[in-house]
């Protein structure tokens, strides 16, 4: 979900995705490279992202991942599921505090 989210703004390469998640979460979340690349392969396989080789600003070849329409849909689904979950957890916690 996080990977998909970072890709909504612009296509990024693997390193960019890791960096972006780290920054956006103020260093709280770091994506292990060990899980990042397998995860990306899985997303590719599902057809939620596509990859193409492009030049970076530093003029180096890198593989950029772009969100596909299916990926955007999937993100929507996952976000709403996540929000429901958070809301549910919130309610439980609140209840626990009141009690």
């Amino acid at each position: 979900m996080l990977i998909l989210k970072t890709l909504t703004r612009a296509p990024l390469h693997g390193y960019g995705i890791a960096l972006s998640i780290k920054r956006l979460s103020d260093d709280v979340l770091t994506v292990e490279e060990g899980s990042l690349y397998p995860a990306l392969q899985r997303l590719l396989l599902q057809g939620w992202v596509k990859a193409e080789w492009k030049m970076t600003e530093t003029n180096r070849r890198a593989r950029f991942y772009t969100l596909t329409a299916a990926g955007r849909r999937q993100l929507g689904v996952e976000l709403s599921q996540f929000e429901q979950m958070i809301a549910a957890i919130g309610r439980v916690l609140q209840d626990a505090q009141e009690a």
């Binding site: 899980s35 397998p38 396989l45």
Partner: protein, 881 residues
């Protein structure tokens, strides 16, 4: 939809596997460079930044592998594992060959035996809806299943409400004139609805019609397929032709299908309708038929039996003379056909199963030894990042590879074994078991083999996996590490060996008991010397020999003629040969003694004057018959010892008179002699009272000749048939036999022999496997303890105490194995009780013998590694590691 797309993408990636890898490599390199640059910007030296980036990134190979796992097919791993497994097995051909051979033996034996069991016990009879078919008979005190009398059959058929149809059949024989001379051919008489009841339709012509089995209907006959082919060249115009059977013209109305079989009467060439024209069928007290019924829907065998019993009870009240003590028997037709041979098949299957068990245990322990020696390899692979699942997968693949190879070879063995075994079944035996013909590896058998393979495969995959689950992988890396895991293996391996030895004991005991039974059976005292006795069946056409004098004349002439042949000492005639059956019985009543109305069954035989002297029987009292006696003289009878003891206890039977249950005047005969008992029935059957009528006073157109020769009885056969035909060209002569072969080929002897030989074969294999298994365990244990032994010897232990150390360990295993095995054998032997003859399940001689044989060979097997242990050079042993 989604999964299809994913599959296509995976497929594309598979085709571009190299591209996938280079993309991934480049991408990861890029990632590291970026990270490195950032570290440098953060103030690190390029060198340390590079290391930091690499550290952060982690194990690139692992990342690659995991990415690979996402896109790969499961199959790819399997193929890889398989390749590796095959390479492993090739590198270790001794292990692979041993395992495959052992497995093949186990699977082959089980599958071959199962094929027989399947054909005989599992596959239903080849009739429509065979589970609704029952064998219907009368029963009485002496017989669980007795023949039906025709009058009773008609009443049963009329009164019952449980059968959709109830039919009868009766064996018969015909004399048939052929271009090569008069032949005696077997036939069956059946009531008109017989084939309809079985659900069999003639392949040519028509079935019998209702009413064609009535007295006076014109005789019709159906041909068996074999007869149609052999005697009529398979010509389709045979229907409507007339065939002369025993001098009576029969019209052929059809031909039975090729695959038709009827185990209770399978050699019949002609099937005619059963018309109640024989003397026997006119009397209610004469029993000569067998019944076959088809149960109505929803009627069970038990309720059918209950109703038939109550009908029989009704008839008993109505006809007290003839039906006293007669009840009914209804059992499944399959039970009637295979009931006798079921125990042997089950025992053989059990034996084969035990053999398979030993084979599996043996291969398992081989796998354990191998797993143990691969401990280091596995640990290294694990440390290098192989996942547990992947390692387990490797074991599964190796196990399955072995099983597949073993099963393939085993199927080959099974096929060969089936051919050999069915070749061993004699023609007469086969006739009673037509369902065993054309035995082959059919779908059923293959399924069974597949099931065995799956079980064995599971076992062999799990064994090494369990082994490694229990042991800590890190131990494997340490030098010389064999602490607790080695112990664990030793305990598991030892348990397996105990199982093997115990199983071998069970099989050996079984084989020993069966062998002893066979010996006892074949050496039962028949009451007369069985060597140099030839036998031959003779049939005379009823029409040409309708008068007693004609038959008596022929009998006298034929005995004289045969006795004149070279090498013949004497010849005689009997209605039923000795060593056949407790059958052809008569109900007797002693004149002048109170009669309680019960049926006293005794064996009745019609014998010529020279019968007892030809047999070399022993006369106890009185005299034998003289040839001059015939129907015109007073009726005489000779009884056996059992008869005398039972009906004349403490009296002299000579001169006493006996007759039928009504003491009708023409049945009263005077006892003139008592002979010592000899076996009328099979060797394993009990001795019944017997009465012997004078053949001249109780003639029959079908009888057997008994010929005592001076030398080899086979030598008489070439001239025998010709000699008989010289007396009368109309006499039909069957193939001759000998008393010795009658004993050796009897069904009981056959069953005992095949059981003893097969179980014996299994037992030998089991013994070898068990002992080899023990050797393996002890040898392994010695190799593991080499250092310990070296230390002991360095500290002054004598070679003898090293021997003792090893042999004690082996002795303990052997001891436990034998004790457990003996206990199990007694249990197993109780189960085969029925097959044992003259031997108890706890026969001490056999049990001790087995213990000694197994103990001795097992100790011998453990002596070899013990010797190796004792000859260890302490310095070598200590330096070795």
């Amino acid at each position: 939809m989604n999964s299809i797309r994913r599959f296509v993408k995976k497929l594309m990636l598979l085709l571009q596997r190299r591209r996938f890898h280079s993309d991934l490599n480049e991408e990861m390199a890029f990632h590291r460079e970026q990270a490195q640059r950032e570290f440098i910007e953060g103030g690190m030296t390029p060198e340390s930044a590079r290391y930091a980036a690499m550290r952060q990134f982690g194990n690139p190979t692992r990342v690659k592998e995991r990415s690979h796992e996402v896109v790969e097919f499961k199959l790819e791993t399997v193929v890889q594992d398989l390749r590796f497994a095959l390479r492993q097995l090739r590198k270790n051909p001794g292990f692979a060959a041993t395992a495959v051979v052992i497995l093949a033996l186990g699977i082959g034996a089980s599958v071959a035996i199962f094929a027989f069991v399947d054909a005989a016990l599992i596959k239903p009879l080849p009739y429509s809806d065979p589970t609704r078919l029952v064998a219907v008979n009368e029963s009485s005190a002496g017989f669980a299943r007795n023949n039906l009398s025709y009058a009773d059959y008609l009443d049963w058929k009329r009164m019952n409400t449980v059968f959709r149809s109830l039919e009868v059949f009766n064996r018969t024989g015909y004399t048939l004139s052929t271009p090569t001379g008069t032949e005696s051919v077997p036939g069956t008489r059946v009531s008109a609805g017989f084939f309809g009841t079985l659900g069999i339709h003639p392949m040519l012509g028509r079935d019998f019609r209702a009413g064609e089995d009535g007295a006076g209907a014109s005789p019709v006959v159906l041909l068996s397929y074999g007869t149609w082919q052999r005697r009529y060249g398979g010509r389709p115009d045979v229907v409507g032709q007339v065939v002369n059977l025993s001098g009576i013209a029969h019209t052929i109305v059809g031909v039975l299908p090729q695959d038709f079989q009827f185990a209770l009467r399978d050699d019949a060439e002609f099937w005619e309708t059963l018309q109640p024209i024989r003397e026997c069928e006119k009397r209610r007290s004469c029993h000569n038929l067998d019944g076959v019924g088809r149960l109505k829907d929803g009627v069970s065998v038990t309720s059918a039996l209950a109703e038939m019993k109550s009908i029989a009870a009704q008839l008993e009240k109505q006809y007290p003379d003839s039906n006293r003590g007669n009840s009914a028997s209804v059992i499944l037709l399959s039970e009637a056909i295979v009931g006798e041979i079921r125990p042997i098949f089950l025992i053989l299957l059990g034996g084969a199963g035990l053999l398979l068990l030993i084979a599996c245990v043996n291969v398992s322990s081989l796998l354990l030894v191998r797993a143990e020696s691969r401990r280091r390899e596995i640990a290294v692979r694990g440390a290098l990042g192989a996942s547990r699942r992947r390692l387990s997968g490797q074991f599964v693949t190796e196990g399955l590879t072995l099983v597949v190879a073993g099963a393939a070879v085993g199927l080959g063995l099974a096929y060969g074994g089936m051919k050999v075994l069915s070749g061993l079944i004699s023609k007469e035996m086969m006739m009673g078991m037509p369902f065993l013909r054309g035995l082959t590896l059919n779908a059923h058998v293959l399924e069974f083999a597949a099931a065995l393979a799956v079980v064995a495969g599971t076992l062999f995959s799990i064994t090494p996996i369990l082994h490694f689950r229990f042991s800590n992988m890190r131990d494997g890396l340490t030098e010389g590490g064999r602490g607790s895991a080695g112990m664990l293996w030793r305990r598991m391996g030892a348990n397996l060996v105990v199982i093997e030895l115990a199983t071998a004991v069970v099989l050996l005991t079984g084989a020993g008991l069966l062998g002893k039974s066979l010996y006892k059976l074949l050496h039962v005292d028949a009451g007369f010397p069985t060597e140099h006795l030839a036998t031959i069946d003779v049939g005379l056409p009823d029409i040409a020999f309708s008068k007693d004098e004609q038959v008596v004349g022929f009998a006298r002439d034929v005995v004289r003629k045969v006795e004149s042949l070279p090498g013949v000492e004497s010849a005689a005639i009997t209605s039923v040969l000795p060593l056949s059956c407790n059958c052809n019985t008569d109900w007797i009543r002693v004149v002048g003694k109170p009669y309680d109305g019960n049926h006293n069954d005794v064996n009745e035989r019609d014998v010529s004057a020279g019968f007892f002297s030809t047999l070399h029987a022993r006369l106890l009292k009185g005299r034998y018959f003289s040839d001059a006696e015939d129907g015109s003289k007073p009726l005489v009878i000779i009884i056996n010892e059992t008869f005398a003891k039972k009906y004349f206890p403490g009296e002299d039977p000579i001169g006493k008179k006996i007759g039928d249950i009504k003491l009708s005047p023409k049945s009263i005969r005077e006892i003139v002699g008592v002979v010592a008992d000899f076996k009328d029935a099979g060797l394993e059957q009990e001795q019944w009272p017997a009465e012997y009528f004078h053949f001249n006073q109780s003639t029959d157109t079908h009888f057997s000749m008994l010929i005592r020769t001076r030398q080899d009885e086979q030598a008489v056969f070439p001239e025998l048939a010709a000699a008989i035909h010289q007396v009368s060209v109309e006499a039909a002569v069957e193939e001759g036999s000998t008393m010795t072969s009658q004993i050796n080929d009897s069904q009981t002897a056959y069953i005992h022999r095949s059981a003893a030989y097969l179980v014996g074969g299994f037992a030998v294999i089991a013994l070898v496997l068990g002992v080899v298994g023990l050797y393996g365990v002890i040898a392994y244990s010695v190799s593991q303890r080499t250092r310990e032994i070296g230390v002991r010897m360095a500290l002054g232990a004598q070679r003898s105490s090293v021997y003792q150390l090893i042999l004690k360990e082996a002795g303990r295993l052997i001891g436990i194995g034998i004790v457990v095995g003996l206990a199990a054998s007694v249990g197993a032997a109780m189960l085969m009780g029925k097959l044992l003859f003259g031997v108890q399940a706890w026969d001490a001689g056999t049990l001790v013998g087995v213990a000694v044989v197994l103990g001795a060979s097992a100790m011998m097997a453990s002596y070899i590694p013990a010797r190796r242990a004792a000859s260890v050079n302490p310095t070598d042993a200590l330096r070795a590691e």
